[in-house]
């Protein structure tokens, strides 16, 4: 029996803007097992980041979580008080972001920022122990001469080192569940490879469960055990990585994969998806991909296709799946 660490059920997040409410995350459900990496992939505006912030309950007005459950190790996070939630954030569950320069505080040393986090969650440690732990964390993420580096401010570190510092901070209280939101998007490829390797090593070492968000199909296929594809706040497809890339069933997934130039497999023309992602209020009532889908029918426009398990472990929400 698989051990579910995270279980998301019918999560719904709505933004109440002047032009009316918009569901950025529209009743999505998924599970992540212990030690597993679930990749979430999609283009800008598909709701992948809002999903992560919803899990952390970090949605600010005009946004609001309007329904669903997020069960982390048996507890529904949506039912916790704000105080209880604060001890979960950075404790059992931590998050790393795309832009370490905006996520880190520029006027505090990185050592101080890591210590703050440790102090908040481990109140029984002495000041010296906290400092020692901050240095140990920097060492763990491969920052050279960590006892010197704790005294540095974020701007004194390079992009790759800042991302390492942020990972150190996120892992300082032994989280069971890590959300990584485009952690390597701002980095160069050789540095990206270093950070991905680091995340993987730390995950194995601490048996962490990871939700990894990116728009990069290459990164997602190398780091995830399973992949969820999102479009317009909906789940299009969830499957094991290899299965998803070799047998995509949702027309959006298939089109997305073939629109990306693949290294070593040359084609003369790339397949494209006509049009562009609709504005928040232009989505059809049914399947969000209807307007750009070559297989769409009147049924798709009017009704939302349910997420259905078509082959074992492969879930698709489409009335006319590919293949």
């Amino acid at each position: 029996m698989k051990d579910k660490v995270v279980s998301v059920r019918g999560l719904e997040t709505t933004f109440f803007s002047k032009s009316g409410p918009f569901r950025a995350v529209n009743k999505i459900s998924y599970d992540i097992n212990r030690g597993e990496t679930l990749g979430i992939v999609g283009e800008s505006g598909c709701g992948k980041s809002v999903t992560s912030f919803s899990l952390m309950r970090l949605i600010e007005r005009p946004g609001q979580i309007t329904g669903g459950e997020v069960i982390l190790q048996g507890r529904d996070l949506m039912k916790l008080s704000e105080e209880e939630m604060e001890s979960v954030r950075g404790g059992e569950m931590a998050m790393i972001f795309q832009e370490p320069m905006t996520a880190l505080n520029p006027v505090l040393t990185i050592g101080r920022q890591i210590e703050e986090q440790i102090l908040r969650h481990k109140k029984n440690l002495s000041a010296a122990e906290v400092q020692e732990r901050a240095v140990e964390m920097l060492n763990l993420v491969g920052i050279p001469s960590p006892s010197e580096r704790v005294k540095n401010y974020p701007h004194q570190l390079s992009g790759g080192m800042r991302q390492r510092a942020m990972i150190a901070m996120a892992l300082s209280c032994d989280p069971k569940f890590l959300i990584a939101d485009e952690p390597t998007t701002a980095l160069d490829v050789t540095i990206q490879a270093q950070i991905l390797e680091l995340i993987q090593n730390l995950q194995e070492r601490f048996n962490m469960t990871v939700q990894f968000i990116t728009h990069d199909l290459g990164v997602i296929s190398e780091i995830s055990d399973r992949v969820m594809v999102m479009y317009g706040g909906h789940t299009c497809e969830i499957a094991e990585t290899q299965e998803l890339f070799s047998h995509p069933m949702h027309p959006y997934t298939a089109a997305l994969i073939s629109s990306r130039p693949k290294f070593g497999q040359r084609v003369n023309r790339l397949q494209t998806i006509e049009g562009s992602v609709p504005a928040p209020h232009e989505y059809p009532p049914g399947c969000p991909f209807t307007n750009r889908c070559p297989r769409a029918t009147a049924q798709c426009r009017a009704h939302k296709p349910p997420l259905t398990e078509l082959t074992p472990g492969h879930f698709v929400s489409c009335f006319h799946p590919v293949g």
Partner: protein, 329 residues
């Protein structure tokens, strides 16, 4: 034999670093440091490298948006660095640029019609109705509608804006287009549309591209020849198939190894390269890559290797690396 449209010889672009009250020059950023190559008519030359390697500076120097510190550029056989005034403007008509950020490169206060009229205004071409007809035709060429002429940039998506930038670049029928990361700011599905458009236009208008990107998958898809840059220098240049089949420079090898492959399935990550790019203010002695190179030898620290051909079967393949020096002898 194909003619060379652009010949670049020993181009350097150094930016001064000024400090203090008198803004005295205290050092230089060697953004482009002694780079030579040629671009042939009708081909797409890719410039690839990581941030700070000088690929964008080089692109801008090629059309004299930056004046080079030293070196020579021949455009269609004549000395491009010597021309001034009216002659320079005429030559620039034949070379255009597309920028990365379609949000920053279009004036938000101008309509699309006004933006696309500018090239004609500057060069005093096509009066009145003829100009409007040509602008409408340009919009259709890049896959937009003639009726979009009175809209403002904010009414378009990122991909559509990049189409407007492309329309502006090809408005005067240039021969050479320098494209600086034209698809990096776009979503995957939109990238494919813009890449296809660029390929179509190249065939239709007989364009030569210098395509700058950090994304090797995109470079592989589009380019005929590829130059790999590191810290202001070209470390390897070769035709596409040759470069990917037989990469010689350890940096090129690491770069290729670091590309995340689509559809491979989860694998154990292995970093291809440790360390980080050194500062171009104070670049390492000898070969700029020696601080990260797994094959470092004594000579690499002392002397800069020249960009030479080490492959008997492919004379277009040149690499700047001491590893191959014995092979050449």
């Amino acid at each position: 034999m194909t003619e060379n449209i652009l010949e670049v010889k020993n181009i350097k672009k150094y930016f001064p670093i000024r400090k203090g009250l008198l803004l005295r020059e205290v050092g230089q950023v060697k953004a482009v440091d002694d780079v030579s190559f040629t671009v042939r008519k009708g081909e797409t030359l890719g410039l690839v490298g990581e941030s700070g390697c000088g690929k964008s500076t080089l692109g801008r120097t090629l059309i004299r948006l930056y004046e080079p510190t030293s070196g020579g550029i021949q455009f269609k056989g004549s000395d491009f660095l010597k021309v001034r005034g009216e002659k320079l403007r005429k030559m620039r008509r034949e070379m255009q640029m597309i920028f990365q950020d379609p949000y920053a490169s279009l004036d938000p206060r101008m309509t699309v019609g006004q933006i696309l009229a500018q090239p004609f205004e500057i060069h005093g071409m096509l009066p009145g109705q003829q100009r409007i007809d040509r602008i409408k035709q340009l919009l259709e060429t890049v896959g937009l509608k003639a009726s979009h002429i009175n809209r403002y940039p904010h009414e378009f998506s990122g991909g559509q804006r990049q189409r407007i930038s492309i329309a502006r670049a090809v408005a005067l029928n240039p021969e050479l287009v320098i494209a600086d990361e034209p698809v990096s700011a776009l979503d995957v599905s939109i990238q494919a549309q813009v890449l296809n458009l660029m390929k179509d236009l190249q065939e239709k208008l007989n364009l030569t591209y210098v395509f700058i990107s950090h994304d090797l998958s995109v470079i592989e898809h589009l380019c005929d020849r590829i130059a790999v840059m590191y810290l202001g220098k070209i470390v390897e240049i070769a035709p596409r198939d040759e470069l990917f089949k037989n990469p010689q420079h350890p940096y090129t090898q690491a770069l290729i190894a670091a590309i995340p492959r689509v559809g491979t399935g989860k694998k154990k990550m292995k970093k291809s390269l440790g360390g980080e790019v050194p500062s171009p203010i104070n670049p390492p002695s000898g070969c700029p890559f020696h601080t990260r190179c797994p094959h470092k030898m004594d000579i690499c620290v002392q002397k800069l290797p020249a960009l030479l051909n080490y492959n008997k079967n492919e004379d277009q393949h040149r690499t700047a690396c001491w590893l191959y020096e014995n092979v050449a002898k």
